[in-house]
């Protein structure tokens, strides 16, 4: 009995510490635009949400998708088109982009989830390449030019999003809602079943779970949230281009997630922040960005196998000596 109470005390202690860290993190994000360039921060938030959505699939379900650019970039196109060409308000554009990504996720997931491991990754990559070529050809994406000059408009007809702080806090709100949704999913019974599928698929089946349906649901949720990130990004940068649907973008989100630590809530956020910062720093230095990120990635894989945050958790846990914390 004494053991369990001690463990419970530790658990509530670490839970309190976590909440304190979350509160500090949110406070820092609220204060950030007074110290940093808002567009840079918003880019970070969009990619962080994208990486978190990706992590729902890789980290918590154990599925490595190589096609997530489809949802991110696709949603950006849908949102940009709806806002610019149809004159929709920003919230409706984001909603459309997100819903579009969900539909794309349903289609891609339907074909991919029946395969395992590398075949799963290959199917997602193949379908994402098909979507890329569709975007190159389709008139509404305007080919190489992309959809430029997307107006940010007024949120709910009230808030003028052309004001840097207004758009920043809108993006921050979307980011927090998205991450909160993922947190809820991960800590729900559904999330527990996803984790059991990640750990041992055939065992999950023998306990009565139709693994295929759970995987598809996780895939669609991940795609939807990736779409939310992509649609938001289109409003931030006021354009949607082919860059966001390329396979390099699918690779980048894998990099961010692995770098930060898969299967942790904070890992992908840290990973995305790091990669975006790096890209911005290197862009002005003249040093080739891809080589630098590749090198950093290699170092991380060799030194911190669990990713930065994963490694920190592992160190903390071995020093405390209790069970794994998700």
């Amino acid at each position: 009995m004494a053991e369990t109470t001690l463990q419970e005390a530790r658990a509530t202690g670490s839970a309190r510490l976590e909440w304190a860290l979350v509160a500090i993190g949110i406070a820092a994000l609220i204060a950030a635009p007074f110290f940093f360039y808002p567009v840079f921060l918003m880019k970070m938030l969009c990619f962080a949400l994208f990486a978190c959505a990706f992590n729902l699939l890789l980290g918590y379900t154990g599925l490595l998708s190589f096609g997530h650019a489809t949802f991110f970039g696709g949603a950006a196109y849908f949102c940009a088109h709806a806002v610019k060409v149809w004159g929709w308000p920003p919230e409706a554009g984001i909603l459309l982009g997100t819903a579009g990504a969900a539909v794309l996720g349903l289609v891609m997931g339907f074909f991919a989830i029946r395969r395992q491991g590398i075949y799963f990754a290959m199917i997602t990559l193949a379908l994402a390449q098909m979507f890329y070529f569709f975007c190159v050809q389709a008139p509404f994406t305007r080919g190489e030019d992309g959809i430029q000059g997307v107006p940010r408009g007024h949120l709910f007809g009230l808030l003028d999003l052309s004001q840097p702080h207004n758009i920043y806090y809108t993006v921050l709100g979307i980011f927090l809602i998205g991450v909160f949704a993922i947190w809820r999913i991960v800590n729900s019974p559904f999330g527990m079943i996803l984790k059991s599928i990640r750990e041992n698929e055939s065992r999950a089946i023998s306990l009565g779970y139709s693994v295929a349906n759970y995987k598809l649901a996780a895939f669609v949720m991940s795609a939807t949230l990736a779409g939310l990130a992509g649609a938001t990004k289109a409003l931030v940068f006021q354009f949607a281009t082919l860059t966001d649907v390329t396979w390099q973008m699918s690779g980048e989100v894998i990099l961010m997630t692995l770098l930060g630590g898969i299967g942790t809530m904070v890992g992908p956020i840290v990973g995305a922040g790091l990669v975006v910062t790096l890209q911005n720093t290197l862009a002005t230095s003249g040093f080739p960005v891809t080589i630098a990120t590749g090198l950093i990635f290699m170092v991380c894989v060799l030194v911190f196998r669990r990713g930065i945050v994963g490694e920190i958790y592992a160190r903390l846990l071995t020093s405390v000596g209790t069970g794994k914390k998700e």
């Binding site: 463990q7 729900s188 750990e199 023998s206 794994k324």
Partner: protein, 250 residues
């Protein structure tokens, strides 16, 4: 044994055959498992015992034959639906969810039928804790499953299968590698499982254990059923002695 014998058997296996590329792992096997019964299945290595369990649980489809659960054919149902109907199994090669805690390993089994809220998770964990207490693993609740030793993993297999509240439990060598004391404890657990009204099919190599546990024994040899009946009668059957016991003694 004065177990409640109802008219419909809980499991009815009719002329089931399973072939693997030329090899007949299970050959035209028929038998029934009655409500509340403990049926022991023995046979030499490679006799087809695990294959039989996989055919019933739905992990493998049979090449021929029919399997009925509570009077209804289930051969066309996928494995997860059979599990939901109430067929629980353990795995000879233990399959925990290594990265989850022991408690959560069992809670996953208890989650089915619950809603989506977080309070449901707490309820499932509470049920899981009960199952862990039942099999004597409660003190390991918060450890990761892959930190458990072999004997404890066997118990974890049992707790996980029990958490889904099965009507039939298929045990594939849950006593292998255990010492005498541990074997007696598992026998005790299985007897208490049966007292809950759960029918059990138990595969085991330890003759003494299976004899004291089973109401009836079934012997497989080269995929064929060579005996089925009272444990004492079956174990003194010359064919069985030759096929199985004889070889062991030699």
């Amino acid at each position: 044994m004065n177990a409640i014998l109802e008219i419909t058997p809980i499991l009815e296996i009719t002329n089931v055959t399973r072939r693997f590329a030329g090899l007949v792992a299970v050959n035209d096997v028929s038998f029934t498992l009655k409500q509340g019964e403990i049926l022991g299945v023995i046979g030499p290595n490679g006799a087809g015992k695990t294959t039989l369990v996989s055919l019933i649980s739905g992990t493998l489809p049979p090449t021929l034959g029919d399997i009925a659960f509570e009077g209804h054919s289930i051969v066309k149902l996928p494995a997860y639906q059979r599990a939901r109907l109430g067929i629980g199994r353990t795995f000879q090669i233990m399959r925990p969810f290594p990265g989850l805690s022991v408690l959560d390993n069992v809670a996953v089994g208890a989650l089915f039928g619950h809603g989506g809220g977080e309070s449901e998770l707490a309820k499932a964990r509470e049920q899981a804790r009960e199952q862990l207490r039942f099999v004597g693993l409660e003190k390991f609740s918060d450890q990761r499953a892959d930190e458990l030793g072999g004997p404890s993993r066997k118990r974890l297999e049992l707790a996980k299968a029990l958490a889904m509240q099965p009507k039939v439990l298929l045990c594939d060598e849950v006593m292998a590698g255990l010492n005498h004391v541990e074997i007696d404890e598992v026998i005790d657990v299985l007897k208490r499982v049966r007292e809950r009204g759960i029918s059990i099919l138990v595969i085991e190599h330890v003759i003494k254990a299976i004899k004291s546990l089973s109401d009836r024994l079934l012997v497989l040899h080269h995929g064929e059923k060579i005996a089925d009946g009272e444990p004492d009668t079956v174990l003194s059957n010359p064919q069985v002695v030759e096929a199985y016991l004889g070889r062991k003694r030699a």
